[in-house]
Assembly symmetry: C2
């Protein structure tokens, strides 16, 4: 099943255009479609019916794009996937209202899963959606706090990034009749992959190759963000807390305490844990693809 | 069952406070609780179990307050129910994110209806939520259009105001095992009461008593809003379209064409239709209360 062509089948040409056109614009911009792909892979892993998982897979992708749309308003970001953001192309009110409708559309898609599985899918979805909002709020809160620990940070990125990947996997597995234990294993694989992904993101912002990274190096440092790198440095060099926004200066400080190596080791440990969860599951083409996804994440350059 | 004490039982003290405190603030401000009251009255009308309807009633009230929260950001309104709006007391980003979470909370509440009725309740809720967003978009669109007809306006206020009342009634009736025909009759009662309510609102803005209306007379006129009054005038006095924002001037023009009487007649006709739908239903204490609600709406001064 090609997820992009399934997303393209969704019709956003209806009236009022001011409400639906920005939804179509957001969804057609692409992206890696990681979440629906994970839901479908989980389904394949357990030999489930992809048509039954498809509504959930689409709901998760629409929900993910809803969060990006509202995040872009809140961050006042002007570019997303190489194009003007909705609040730039239209206006902030359009981004708010079309985003609200996207969240409702996600629930409409979700309600098309098999009737006997609706209640549980709804519960998983509601829990995940709540955690994403909580993660977003913690991220905002952390900007104004001086006592954020690495544990706080891991909790925040778990909510903000991991639970959506984990829920996509669990929901696909659940609809494909996996056992609770199997669903749990896939969920935890998703959690750990998500954490590794985010720390890799933090790492690339410092040490990525500008040619392949796709954006300028040092963006987090320029913004003074409390990333894994920054928090690790603070915990090591307590009396010498660094508040510089200069890339060279900050990297020199990081290098002094081996922050890069600590982050690389953390990514490796998280990935190893993620893979161990996969070992407990049936081994087939889908499991292999999930393994390759993990390998891809730790070797990626962008 | 006292709906206010049921709303007060919802716990918004959890972490992160920045996400949940604005939700508690919004819900504790009161309001008339019309929507959950309608859901419970519909339940009583058919001798249903109020405990089964309660989650839906609460979901509808939380949803309604979510729309107010996001509407206030979009309208840049600074006061709601006599208190600073969330985006004033906190900030716009808080209002956006806490609003998103409120919408998710509405779905969480809705998911607690009896399992065998969840799918249908979810479908009714999704349809209603979609129509509200569409109504809001049409309202925005109409501001920039010169060709809005009274029919367009009735369609818009049906979406923006009526469907939430109608869905509250239908959902309460559905959960209380009313027939489809009975649900339809209550739904149409809600639609017509909602339309009458909105036109009464437009009328009071022109001819209300400042002592009892609660806000300044002529707000719609000052803003140049395309209300039922304004559109009726335009349709009568085509060559003399009025663009004045002066209350006395506009009312003089309205009086010339009997706009007040046309609006009063429209309200009366809509209320009569609403009451006719009630006549087709079982007659008991709940039906009587719904009749009183209709009478109250057409005689209200604020």
């Amino acid at each position: 099943m090609d997820i992009n062509s399934e997303i393209a089948k969704l019709d956003w040409s209806r009236e009022p255009k001011g409400l639906y056109a920005p939804i179509g614009y957001t969804l057609e911009a692409g992206g890696k479609r990681v979440r629906p792909t994970l839901a479908l892979l989980a389904c394949q892993l357990f030999g489930g019916n992809e048509q039954e998982v498809l509504p959930a897979a689409l709901a998760l992708e629409v929900f993910h794009n809803f969060t990006l749309l509202h995040d872009d308003v809140m961050d006042n970001a002007s570019v997303r996937r190489g194009r003007p953001t909705v609040h730039v192309k239209w206006d902030a009110n359009t981004a708010i209202l079309s985003g609200d409708q996207m969240l409702i559309e996600a629930y409409k898609l979700l309600s098309q899963v098999p009737a006997n599985k609706l209640a549980q899918c709804l519960q998983l979805f509601n829990k995940m959606a709540t955690e994403i909002c909580e993660g977003q709020q913690y991220d905002v809160d952390f900007e104004h706090r001086d006592d954020v620990t690495i544990e706080d940070y891991m909790m925040m990125i778990r909510l903000k990034t991991s639970v959506l990947l984990a829920t996509a996997l669990q929901m696909g597995a659940y609809i494909a009749n996996a056992t609770e234990q199997q669903q749990h294993a896939l969920y935890e694989y998703g959690i750990h992959i998500g954490l590794a992904f985010q720390i890799q993101d933090d790492l690339l912002d410092c040490y990525g190759d500008p040619k392949t990274f796709g954006k300028a190096i040092g963006g987090d440092i320029a913004e003074g963000k409390k990333t894994f790198m920054w928090l690790t440095y603070q915990s090591k060099a307590q009396s010498q807390a660094i508040h510089s926004h200069d890339l060279t200066e900050v990297l020199t400080a990081y290098n002094q305490y081996g922050v890069r190596e600590i982050a690389e080791k953390q990514i490796e440990q998280l990935t190893t844990k993620a893979l161990a969860y996969l070992d407990t599951l049936p081994q087939n083409e889908a499991t292999e693809q999930l393994r390759q996804l993990a390998a891809h994440l730790i070797n990626r350059k962008s």
